[in-house]
């Protein structure tokens, strides 16, 4: 075959190789610099006191214990509400629904829910949970808003991991005389568990990082909340207020670092758990 080009593909290959390496490394460096910057400025602020004390003078001094507790409350509420809904819907979509128009509607609805800006959820939470349902400014209202936001993520991830379970598992189960639900419950869901867990984690991460949606619904009390009916101030909102209201830049860095570390911890532990589970299931 005759070559009809001035620059040989091999040369192009070399050039593209360099471009890809360069852009890959550059992107990664930029992203890591940001984390590094936050951690370098924030880590020195973090100590036991910072983590276990309540803020003094709206956060000018003292710690962020109530914010950590608030974050835990709203995130857990969100996950506890969103997971059964999301996984249930995912099972329905993946296992029961033929491609009917209902499914198309649900699919589009899910997409829409995923795309709605968090601030709109915030307004909805204010009008619906806080006022209409009478839940008031509380961590419960915040958690419910976050549940709505986490729902599409959990649903989508769970659905695709359920669909990824090999058909052969289902057939094996059915061929042994299992009913459809037994098959789903005992074979499909365990096999899809790592994927579903990833979805739940992603949903959790989304709930943990959200400030705008809870801004108008949790009240931003700095007191230690005792129940989810109390108002509170999750970490991201605290960070926003600290940074923007200029209460304390130093504590803002500390709060940001705590958030970054929390996200890191969640990602790493879940990765390890999922790997463990996979090992147990697959024997590798």
């Amino acid at each position: 075959m005759i070559k009809r080009r001035f620059v040989s593909p091999q040369i192009v290959q070399k050039i593209m190789n360099s471009i890809l390496w360069a852009s890959g490394i550059l992107t990664i460096i930029i992203l890591i610099i940001i984390i590094g910057y936050i951690l370098i400025n924030g880590l020195p602020v973090i100590n036991l006191q910072f983590l276990t004390e309540s803020p003094i003078e709206a956060g000018r001094a003292g710690g962020i214990a109530p914010m950590i507790v608030s974050s835990i409350y709203v995130t857990l509420t969100a996950i506890i509400v969103a997971t059964p809904l999301g996984v249930g819907a995912a099972i329905y979509l993946a296992e029961y629904a033929a491609e009917t128009s209902l499914i198309k509607v649900i699919r589009f609805t899910t997409q829409t829910l995923a795309a709605i800006p968090s601030i709109v959820y915030g307004l909805f939470g204010l009008a619906f949970f806080v006022v209409f349902c009478g839940l008031g400014f509380s961590l419960l209202s915040g958690g419910l808003v976050l549940a709505l936001m986490a729902l599409p993520t959990i649903l989508y991830t769970a659905e695709s991991s359920i669909k990824a379970v090999p058909e052969s598992y289902r057939e094996a189960s059915l061929a042994l005389g299992a009913t459809k639900w037994q098959t789903i419950y005992k074979v499909v869901l365990p096999a899809a568990a790592p994927g579903i867990a990833t979805g739940v984690i992603l949903g959790m991460a989304r709930a943990l990082e959200e400030a705008a949606a809870v801004m108008f619904v949790v009240g931003s009390a700095t007191d230690m909340p005792y129940t989810i009916f109390d108002p509170g101030r999750p970490l991201p909102l605290h960070l926003y207020l600290l940074a923007v209201e200029g209460i304390s830049l130093k504590n803002a860095y500390g709060t940001a670092a705590v958030l970054v570390i929390l996200v890191l911890l969640i990602t790493i532990t879940t990765n390890i758990l999922i790997e463990k589970h996979r090992e147990k299931m697959m024997g590798r």
């Binding site: 400014f137 007191d223 209460i247």
Partner: protein
């Protein structure tokens, strides 16, 4: 003796730090009482107080007559609004009309007011902010703030912007003024608690607490504490002018006297 009870406070974010300090001091004396202080904004304070979903609403701006209906309104202090420029800006003093012209866009270069030849970057607050409202009422009169002024959502954001930009000008709550920026004199009067208190510094606004109907029990007790010398001392420590230093003509407009 007393059984455990709770007061819910919500509203203006400017009042929030002060209210939190007051709450802390109060609960130290009354361990059975728990006070939640939340933000949300002045209008949240107004509407929630009206609905009775919270015990006390806070506001950093005066209420319109219709907003005030059914509410008891207490002045807890007055906060000045400082005009700030970058520390490297040689300007120290502007007249009210110069400030008005700068913010309306008639003056666009620092050299027109005796500064270096540089464009003026105007920084303002969002519509509805108590700070902005007071600033507009006192300084702008009927003029409008130029449409391309940078809008920052909080006092600190304005301060940050001015601190970093040699050509910027903005306005912030006096309580937040520190050495990172320069608070200039207005018509020759420097911004301070003293000048706000004696009325010589012209730009200020009220900090209010609102209660539906008449306050009762611990709510009433708390409000009394706020207006007591002890409470007022806390307010003063936050660089807000306490009520007893405010001109009586202003205090008269509110329901403070009815609390006794």
């Amino acid at each position: 003796g007393q059984k455990k009870s709770r007061i819910q406070i919500a509203g203006s974010t400017s009042v929030q730090p002060v209210a939190e300090k007051l709450a802390q001091a109060y609960t130290k004396k009354h361990p059975n009482v728990k006070i939640n202080v939340q933000g949300g904004g002045s209008s949240v304070g107004i509407t929630q107080a009206k609905q009775g979903t919270i015990d006390i609403g806070t506001s950093s701006k005066d209420l319109k007559p219709d907003e005030r209906q059914g509410l008891s309104v207490y002045l807890i202090g007055r906060d000045g609004i400082a005009i700030i420029v970058n520390k490297n800006n040689p300007i120290n003093d502007l007249s009210k009309s110069q400030i008005r012209d700068i913010f309306s866009g008639k003056i666009r270069n620092w050299k027109e007011v005796g500064g270096p030849d540089a464009k003026i970057n105007v920084i303002t607050r969002e519509a509805g902010s108590g700070t902005r409202k007071s600033f507009e009422e006192v300084v702008m009169k009927n003029e409008k703030i130029r449409g391309d002024a940078i809008v920052q959502s909080s006092t600190e954001a304005v301060k940050q912007a001015v601190k970093n930009d040699p050509n910027a000008i903005g306005y912030i709550s006096l309580a937040h003024l520190d050495e990172s920026v320069k608070g200039i004199s207005v018509d020759g009067v420097p911004p301070s608690e003293k000048t706000v208190a004696d009325g010589s510094y012209p730009i200020a606004r009220p900090f209010l607490m609102l209660v539906k109907g008449e306050p009762k029990d611990i709510v009433k007790d708390f409000l009394k504490f706020v207006l007591s010398p002890e409470g007022q001392a806390i307010i003063k420590s936050e660089k807000v002018v306490p009520v007893n230093q405010c001109p009586p003509t202003i205090v008269q407009k509110y329901d403070n006297s009815k609390l006794r």
